[in-house]
Symmetry: C2
Subunit: 204 residues, 2 copies
DNA sequence: AAGGCTTTTTAACATTTGTAAAATTATTTC
DNA sequence: GAAATAATTTTACAAATGTTAAAAAGCCTT
């Protein structure tokens, strides 16, 4: 049984970054390949140099690195997100993070060389690549700022509001490290927010 | 008296991002304008929408935002760095930060519209813009990761090693907030690192 | 070089978060 | 549906950092 019946088409995801003409779009999508990968698959290994880029059509992924021997999750990607190790890709050097699928997933993929060739050959696609990097930059900067400005409680509430489904799909240990606290602290936060889980009796 | 006698030329700074052909380079630099601005000048105001981009030829700047009523410095720029509020520029919305010159400075500047027009008209410049965003992304991501992985002591030592001049040019209050701690904590860190400032007597 | 301003350090205390281990709750597997 | 496994919460204590205020050191300016 396929993981999804009707994943959003790759066109939709690509056009969401920066609109391309029909011609540029066709050149672009011809280079992407559909793959289905299972939960637990590592898309990118720490210490390796990036070679492939992914686009998530269905599924969820996380990027993490190690502090001492604890895993630190610092990024989640879901449908419509592009997956690559920018630090490895830009400087063509070993990356410091691993990227793992947290669900059975459907992805589109393209090699770095192929994408780079498209950037050189088509100026619309070059501008598409600029927009992708710019959007990713702003997302990263906003996370960085929120790390500075917001308490873990603030950030947990923001998650509750903007990505409630993430809390359903991802173990709390990963969420805690994403918020920059231990799981114990996250538990304390959750307890404060839901003061006493109301007993089911007496609730109409 | 000019602030500098021989600032590095704009060509050098632009080519450092991504090499342009002589033709593209000329198109590019024709649009940039030289300005001298004094210490304390605000290049970008929180709440405003970005309109100009700067390149620092000589000087130093910081980006900061407010947490309650304390200033939080989260970025420093020096010679060769480009200055813009990406979050405001990308989505054409009010930015959350202000950017201030910490020294009398020499800068090159261009309007967003002009640069955007160059991206559309010249594919080399579009790829230049992609590279700029990608490099900025990696810098931001690396700072974000170091915030997660490193203690304030680690980060201070890294500053000492990689940007010792920054510590000379910038007040410690700004450095402390850049490292994500209070100035009191930074003082404690410095005390540990330089256990007892050796008295000048007896030192040959 | 004396006074006034700013920057940096120190002190004492309160608060928060981390650590490690146990207890509880959910989920899976047979 | 009982046992086994994994995930989450709780507890008690230790360690690190923040807060507020005062002291010390640096620096301009006259």
């Amino acid at each position: 049984m396929p993981i999804v019946n009707h994943p959003a088409s790759i066109q939709t995801f690509i056009q969401a970054i920066y609109p391309l003409s029909e011609n540029a779009l066709q050149i672009m999508i011809a280079q992407w390949e559909l793959v289905e990968l299972t939960k637990g698959t590592i898309l990118f290994y720490e210490g390796k140099t990036a070679s492939d880029i992914y686009l998530i059509a269905q599924g969820i992924a996380r990027a993490f690195c190690y502090k001492e021997d604890k895993e630190l999750t610092f990024w989640f990607g879901k449908e419509g997100d592009f997956v690559l190790s920018y630090n490895s890709y830009i400087y063509d050097k070993p990356g410091y993070e691993s990227i793992e699928l947290l669900e059975d997933s459907v992805l589109y993929t393209i090699g770095h060389e192929e994408l780079h060739a498209l950037y050189q050959q088509n100026s619309e696609i070059a501008n598409w690549g600029r927009k992708l990097a710019e959007q990713e930059l702003v997302r990263t900067e906003e996370r960085f700022i929120s790390q500075l400005l917001q308490t873990a409680t603030d950030k947990y509430n923001a998650l509750l509001e903007h990505s409630p489904e993430l809390l359903q799909r991802v173990p709390l240990g990963h969420i805690a490290s994403f918020l920059g606290v231990t799981q114990v602290t996250l538990s304390r936060i959750r307890k404060k927010i839901t003061p006493t889980p109301p007993s089911s009796e007496g609730v109409s």
